[in-house]
């Protein structure tokens, strides 16, 4: 009988909470979008699946050993944890969880030890999160892989397009303002660090967003990552109306002069030059841009093909699996089902829209002053979302003029946007973090 109770107690049914049901449905929804609608499937399949796993009641996959001990509800364990955390012995689980979140590092370590001694362990997803994201390693490794897959040729052939990559980051900072504005008005409760992390969604670059969120606002990481990847997948829907509204038919028909060939030496020198500039001006961006430049140098230098291949294949794929599952671990009901998440989703789409508009408008401005014609449609590619945004520019260019192939021209601002948002991330980290 005792065992029967224990067995029932060990089922999920006995513990399901409405929030978990909702979150599992959201996880399944993300899987549907990823598989059926091909929304950034490489990330959203693991994130969605991780989200489902994280919300299995009683399994505690997304919790630390101490959190699992507190969730167990065992009074002896609770009393011991209360003692370790310096709380009243009769405290309930919820107040102890709160105390654990607030505790200083030594108390947290003591709580972890006590929980382990009582037979509780870190959940699988919690372990993955600690190793891959909390350590900062996974987003950096992905960034290295992206660097090893990026060709800066179009950018080097037409360096002016870097300004478009700069312009499109404007959305990031307006969004920061929006987030603190919502807080000022008392509608939401974002700190400056939260606002900075939310703004980076507008960078339209997944690993950058996850890296910044893991440093500045780990609690919001789940929502931020989901927003970033969802909107990147939605770029073909979000951008075209804005681009059409801000350009005339004549502007969209502009044919750009063909890009010059770029020598291998220029391509080798570029990542090193970028690295030096980072070293001089923005050390806080050194991890992100350093790994990016390293990946790119491995690709372009041509003498370490083995390493470049590893960075582009085995390593980035393995890391993506664990990064995705780890992000999913932040989709637990008590952290995700919150008015803040709604705010993040709204601010995120705002960031994309403003970034797109700024890119297009600055392109129009540059077109007035430059000597070479510049089709404003490639300005929207400055948000990054590589290579989706560049394809959108190409598609709209072809619509306006069936012989106007903008893809290569749009790749310049597109990869410039990656650098731009990494620079913006560096500013955030150095001004807000630490």
């Amino acid at each position: 009988m005792d065992n029967l109770l224990r067995l029932w107690d060990s089922t999920g049914l006995a513990h399901f909470q409405p929030g978990q049901v909702v979150m599992i449905l959201i996880g399944l929804g993300l899987l549907f979008l990823a598989i059926r609608k091909q929304f950034e499937p490489l990330l959203l399949v693991p994130i969605g699946f991780g989200g489902v796993l994280a919300n299995i009641p009683g399994a505690g996959l997304a919790y630390s050993a101490a959190e699992n001990a507190l969730h167990s509800g065992d009074p002896v364990v609770l009393a011991e944890m209360a003692r370790v955390l310096g709380q009243a012995v009769a405290s309930d689980a919820e107040s102890l969880l709160h105390a654990l979140g607030m505790a200083a590092l030594p108390a947290q370590h003591a709580a972890a030890s006590a929980a382990e001694a009582a037979g509780f362990g870190n959940g699988m997803l919690y372990t993955f999160y600690t190793v891959s994201i909390a350590s900062g390693v996974a987003p950096l490794v992905i960034f290295m892989g992206v660097g090893a897959m990026t060709d800066f040729g179009p950018l080097l052939a037409n360096p002016r397009t870097l300004f478009l990559g700069a312009a499109a980051q404007f959305g990031i900072f307006v969004t920061v303002l929006g987030a603190v504005g919502l807080s000022s008005l008392g509608i939401m409760d974002f700190s400056l660090a939260d606002a900075a992390a939310i703004g980076i969604i507008g960078g339209a670059d997944g690993p950058t967003a996850i890296y910044v969120a893991s440093l500045l606002a780990p609690d919001l990481l789940g929502a931020i990552a989901v927003a970033a990847y969802s909107y990147m997948a939605l770029v073909p829907l979000i951008q075209p109306p804005i681009m059409r509204a801000l350009t005339t038919q004549a502007e969209r028909e502009i044919v750009m002069t063909q890009l010059r060939e770029v020598s291998q030496r220029e391509k080798i020198v570029f990542p090193l030059m970028l690295l030096i500039l980072v070293a001089l001006l923005l050390p806080a961006a050194a991890p992100l841009l350093g790994m990016f430049c390293f990946g790119n140098l491995m690709k372009e230098c041509g003498v370490v093909k083995r390493l470049s291949d590893a960075a582009q294949n085995a390593l980035i794929n393995i890391t993506t699996i664990f990064l995705g599952l780890s992000v999913g671990s932040k989709l637990v009901a008590d952290k995700f089902l919150d008015i803040e998440t709604l705010g993040i989703m709204l601010l995120g789409v705002l960031a994309f829209a403003i970034g797109t508009a700024s890119g297009v408008l600055i392109a129009k401005l540059m077109n007035r002053f430059g000597s070479h014609p510049l089709n404003p449609l490639i300005g929207s590619a400055g948000v990054s979302a590589v290579p989706m945004a560049a394809r959108v520019s190409n598609r709209l260019g072809l619509e306006a003029n069936p012989s106007n192939y903008l893809l290569m021209h749009a790749m310049g601002p597109n990869v410039a946007g990656v650098i731009g948002s990494a620079v913006a991330a560096g500013v955030m980290i150095s001004l807000v973090g630490g």
Binding site: Q38, L162, F163, Q264, P387
Partner: protein, 90 residues
């Protein structure tokens, strides 16, 4: 009080952020220009590294199948179109 302060911090962050991004990328534009000129003048390569492949995505596809195919067929369509146009004109 505190809310206003937060907002002002946000404004400051925006101003510093935007200017840093613009300054950084402007310097990069200058550096690229300089490097290109130095390399092309003093260290030219005998043979160009790779023929420019018009229409090829400079980023290896990060998404699977369909998008790549879409891209490829766009490139083919482009080629066909240019071919026809040339013949029409000539």
């Amino acid at each position: 009080m505190r809310e206003d302060e937060l907002f002002m911090q946000g404004v400051e962050l925006m101003l510093f952020g935007v200017s840093t991004v613009v300054i950084f990328l402007s310097l990069l534009v200058l550096a690229i220009g300089l490097a290109s000129r130095v390399i092309q003048r003093f260290f030219p390569e005998a043979v160009p590294a790779q023929p420019a492949r018009q229409g090829r995505s400079p980023v290896a596809p990060r998404t699977s199948g369909p998008t790549v195919d879409a891209q490829r067929s766009a490139v083919i369509a482009a080629a066909v179109h240019q071919h026809r146009k040339r013949h029409r004109n000539g």
